[in-house]
Symmetry: C2
Subunit: 738 residues, 2 copies
């Protein structure tokens, strides 16, 4: 393996060559980065991640299902559980909404609860143990203790690949259950056709959080089954095909001891034919081990986009998070570009990969900015995907899932993603992008009509929730539109949206010094308690939303007053909820009123940089990393949220974070790792290095950029993508002169 880097570790000696001269093209036998990833991180606690096999941004998320409903089990798998109901092909990573779980496959045999199957009609749950479970990027294996069958999973982007090792048994089975569902997910129309005794195909159309989900599939078995029994509503039916709400096929085998039977399941959102083409293109062979190696290689390539130096623990934390950054969005188009659009029709993504599953309220903050550094080509395709969504629906996506708009959460945060990418030079049809942004900002739904009329979203009994949060987020999105319009010379639009960008001021209440809900008549509502979680704040309170003016921190500081702003920022991290305060499910990872477990807080620790107290940013970011993250199964303090929680860690660990994620500027803090090299597209590298890095030495003493003293607390995207080295000298005391 080639390893290009300014810095490297001599394996075995552990010598850290931090300050040596640049060594290019030097080959060293580096450790595998995939070995640092713990795919179980986030599967306990509120993380809601899954441990299964997935390619970076892959269409298939083939992962074990405990078979239990509930908040804890949104990703299908919850570390404390002891059951496996099977392996389904689609899962959400780190969300708060229980959907997907398509195409559950489960192997069985006569040892499986045999005395409990007089009618064979119940759902089988196998016992499993973490002692006999193993996983890494693109691979998952578990012993099903109730049957003695070993299950292994791997995947390509569009094809899930199962390998089951059976004990000797005359009644071995592989079941595909299209009726299986959990939480919000509900099968509506499913079909299975036996094409021959090694091939079946069909579809599962379901409804849940997303209204119209379609998963077409072709499934191949490495060994012809002796018989294929079709079921509808748990009753066996005759023939070669079955359709209905709850369908299932049982493929029967006699197996020898240790016999392996493999199964490939290709997906498509567009058609069975599309699934078949995906299968032929991506996985024409039956070599399971080869596929495991290949997907591991793909992951190694993605993880190598950043190479770091640091302790083993730091590497595990960093790469586990970097891994989660690349799980979502999900590839949505077939090998020939076909996909099911948000208008319910099939489309062709011409010359790009259509992505979907955009959790934009979360990911516009740090995930998409990180993609502009690490995955510019995918970013280009994601923006094309936004624009095709616009073509299909007339609006940019808000929370789009599997070819649907779920309208979950608030804002039109595709806008900052587009604008950020635009200014960073990601190719796009900018005119059309602006048109889509303006259209999304001017629709009448989502209380935007009221927002436009009043300059804020009002609260009141007959109004929707989250009025303050919407006002602040709309205002920020509007600022983004104004920048894009300005740059494209669309002055009229720029003026309109520059005005709208100031709408945050309309809800600022000088009396309480918070953003405070207002009614339709312009009156602030009373009583008002900033720490209460009321319906005007999205999953949050007035403390957490106070900071959400990312485009005008200076203006916010002025509104509050310089001193008050500083006091408030200190209070944010020290004013803890009391024992009897009722916190919502999302308010986790609390440091004072700061809730790292949810997104509105994510930029707040960096704001000390804006008020001349950067050492407090350095302290606090270090504290958040050290107290709110680990690689244990409960290593996330809140929902991982499709990469946002992880992207925060990845960027902050390198010492950079975008307060305004559409401005191309990163706020600086002391790196947590010893060094990081961002391997940019085109071969350039940006190195972040440190001297005197340690747990105590979290304070920046001095910075140089490419060897020259650097006295700013921000660095531009441009500086980074040119390549170079940002070097930190650290110490155990604040340098207040910096």
């Amino acid at each position: 393996m080639k390893y290009h880097g300014y810095f490297f570790i001599l394996i075995g000696l552990g010598v850290l060559s931090c300050k040596q001269e640049t060594v290019k093209e030097k080959e060293v036998s580096a450790e595998k980065l995939t070995s640092y990833v713990n795919t179980f991180t986030g599967t306990d606690g509120p993380g809601n991640t899954y441990p299964g096999a997935v390619a970076p941004f892959g269409m298939v998320q083939l992962s074990p299902d405990n078979g239990l409903p509930g908040w804890d089990r949104i990703a299908g798998y919850f570390y404390p559980d002891s059951t496996i109901a099977g392996f389904s092909h689609t899962h959400l990573s780190g969300t708060g909404a229980g959907d997907m779980y398509d195409l559950l496959v489960m192997p069985l045999n006569s040892r499986f609860n045999e005395s409990l199957t007089p009618e064979g009609a119940y759902r089988p749950y196998s016992k499993f143990s973490h002692d006999r479970e193993e996983a890494g990027p693109g691979y998952y294996a578990v012993d099903l203790l109730s049957s003695g069958i070993k299950a292994e999973l791997t995947t390509t982007s569009r094809v899930g690949f199962h390998q089951y090792t059976f004990p000797k048994d005359d009644k071995s089975q592989i079941i595909l259950d299209l009726g299986y569902s959990l939480n919000w997910d509900k099968p509506m129309d499913t079909k299975i056709t036996i094409e021959d005794n090694q091939t079946i195909s069909g579809y599962r159309k379901s409804k849940g959080w997303a209204n119209d989900q379609r998963v077409y599939f072709v499934m191949q078995f490495s060994k012809p089954f002796d018989s294929g029994q079709l079921f509808k509503d748990s009753k066996e039916i005759q023939g070669q095909s079955v359709s209905g709400q709850f369908t299932k096929i049982v493929a029967n085998y006699k197996t020898g001891d240790g016999e392996k039977i493999k199964v490939k399941v290709a997906l498509s959102s567009a058609s069975i034919d599309g699934a078949r083409k995906n299968l032929e293109a991506e996985l024409p062979h039956w070599d399971f081990e080869k596929t495991v190696k290949e997907i591991d290689g793909v992951w190694e390539k993605f993880l190598s986009k950043i190479t770091i130096e640091g302790t083993e623990a730091q590497k595990e934390l960093f790469y586990t998070n970097l891994y989660h950054v690349f799980l979502t969005p999900s590839l949505h188009s077939d090998i020939d570009g076909a996909y099911k659009g948000a208008d319910g029709k099939n489309h062709i993504a011409e010359g790009y990969n259509k992505y979907d599953t955009f959790s934009l309220w979360d990911t516009f903050r740090a995930t998409h900015p990180l993609y502009t550094l690490l995955a510019p080509k995918e970013t280009e395709d994601m923006i094309k995907s936004f624009l095709s969504h616009y073509d299909e629906t007339g609006l940019l996506p808000v929370w789009s899932l599997a070819g649907n708009e779920t309208n979950m959460m608030i804002g039109y945060h595709a806008v900052p993603v587009i604008v950020d990418a635009y200014f960073k030079g990601i190719p796009m049809d900018a005119e059309k992008a602006l048109e889509a942004c303006v259209a999304s900002a001017n629709e009448d739904g989502r209380q935007i009509d009221l927002y436009k009329r009043l300059g804020y979203v009002p609260t009141g009994e007959h109004h929707e929730n989250w009025s303050v949060s919407k006002t602040l987020e709309y205002a920020y999105n509007d600022w983004c539109i104004a920048q894009l319009a300005k740059d494209l010379g669309k002055d009229e639009i720029a003026v309109t949206f520059t005005e709208r960008a100031d709408n945050w001021k309309n809800l600022y209440d000088p009396e309480s010094s918070f953003f405070r809900p207002k009614d339709e008549k312009g009156k602030f509502i009373s009583p008002f308690s900033p720490k209460e979680y009321t319906k005007e704040f999205c999953e949050s309170n007035a403390w957490q939303y106070f900071w959400f003016v990312p485009h005008d921190i200076d203006g916010l500081e002025q509104a509050v007053g310089k001193e008050e702003f500083a006091v408030k920022l200190d209070s944010m991290f020290t004013y803890y909820p009391e024992a009897n305060d009722k916190l919502p499910i999302f308010s986790t990872g609390m440091i004072g009123q700061y809730a790292h477990g949810n997104e509105p807080s994510h930029h707040v620790a960096f704001l000390y940089n804006n008020i001349g107290k950067p050492w407090k940013t350095q302290e606090m970011v270090r504290k958040i990393i050290e107290t709110q993250y680990s690689t244990k199964p409960d290593g996330y303090c809140g929902n991982e949220d499709c990469g946002q929680m992880s992207a925060w860690l990845v960027l902050s660990s390198m010492g950079i974070y975008p307060i305004n994620p559409a401005k191309g500027v990163y706020s600086i803090t002391s790196p947590f790792v010893e060094a990081a090299t961002i391997n940019l597209e085109g071969g350039k590298q940006f190195v972040i290095s440190t001297e005197n890095q340690s747990k105590e030495n979290c304070y920046i003493q001095s910075i140089t950029l490419n060897g020259k003293p650097y006295d700013k607390l921000t660095i531009t995207h441009e500086d980074i993508v040119q390549g170079g080295e940002l070097h930190f000298v650290l110490g155990n005391k604040p340098n207040k002169e910096l």
Copy 2:
């Protein structure tokens, strides 16, 4: 607490006064025996016990349900699981059949998966942790981590008592779900009526393993509910009553922080009115703590039937097993004697308690003989219960459950229970008992017609399973009938059944020296491999069934030859299955071919006493105790089986076990505990004491009975119930002269 005993422990000093003179009526502050019981033992592994609240032989088994199906979860709760779906009122202890689970109660609130209940129609599973769970006889408590509600359960014999401690919440709920079912259980007809805002009543009629199960109930709430929402098939319906297959009520509350709401649920198999009377009679108050204390006192009384000396670990093992001995059979009649009979009609048990849930194939071996020592009154009522079953159906129960005959397993093993009790002087209508025994032995079903005609049950494609096992067990049961008939002067019956008792000889194959399946024409089938698990042997093979001639061990020895018998007995414990041998789910706890995890083996280790090698019995019984039992959750090596696995331990630990459980004779081995006092009804005591007891000193050197040398390896029931002391001197080498 008064402690009557020849021997006692001086707490705090730990001085063991083994050989001192008899001290009567001496008061010592003894430890509580209930504190030695681990109610979680058997909830992991194959034990299939439940950890919930139950009275000795109680009608209610109020225990947590994980809410998952499967063999491991037959008792509703499986230690490795992490979920609680609620608390249902009926459970089976240690069986292999998944039934019961009536009346699931679950508290909820708005913190419970709130974002996953858009339609409120899914089953809620709370997370729980063993760190925040506590239980003992008659009490179970757990923190429901998904809601923050603490759940506590206790019970009287017929009334389950719940106490829920809620956090502050405006949407607290207590749900009763009559549609909940698992495994074989299926609701057929259920009904809920709201009588007032503190009282509901109704029934749940279900079908499963037992065909016609009826649970009538009255449920009271300590606090009036704000509203009671009725559901049918997950849809809310209006009115004060709902009936159908799947019904549910949600009682809504606003709760203050730490507010306790209690629920009492009285059961009856006969009627709602019966349940109401049970409630009034057994639990008229709302004092939860008092009820916990009372049920603890009841358990203390039951456990005090034997007081032992030994290590703390021995006490835990002994009392945990003694506890399990008293869980089943279950009280089936109301306070006024009414119960649902096996004929589907209601009956009145006049002057006795009607019991049901008789797992007789298991429990005739050691559990019922133990009851004759510890629970003679209950034994009397159990036999009355057999005879009422006979009145209702014309046959004695085989595996009766909740007023049904399930016809599970084989034999007519109510017979040895009756005959054993008869000869031990338990009062009964002996003439009628004999009539019932003969009727059961002469019915045409269960292949008894063939058995009578051919002298054995034949095998063959068109015949039912388990032909060899049936032949052997019928022959033994027939011997029992012959003894009873003889004693009652019914010579004709005695002659007939004495002849039938020899039927085991008809399947003995001198060539293989095993019991070997025969076809209808009298030809032994070929091929025949004794270690194979074939359909002719009930959950077993020819090795395990070879020893099942408990009434004629001498005859069996003669048939095989003295030397061959001894070799075979050694081989039984040394001839291990090979890696590729396929064992059925029941063959667990293997020592050679000996399977302690299933019942047919249970008397085998004692057979060395019959062939002059008692030290091998002493070795092997000690080995079984030490390797096949613990108080860990997976402390049983097989299904606990309604007390049989535990009764084996209790008797063997005291050094006595009935090879022929209808003969009133116990085979002797070295005690495992240091001393045991059986506190007999009427105040007499039988003491088993040891000298030089230790792990190594498992060999009997000498025995005295009431101070006189004792040279027999058996002791009669009569000797025991007269009171006295059986004293063992132990050593680390066999005394082969004994």
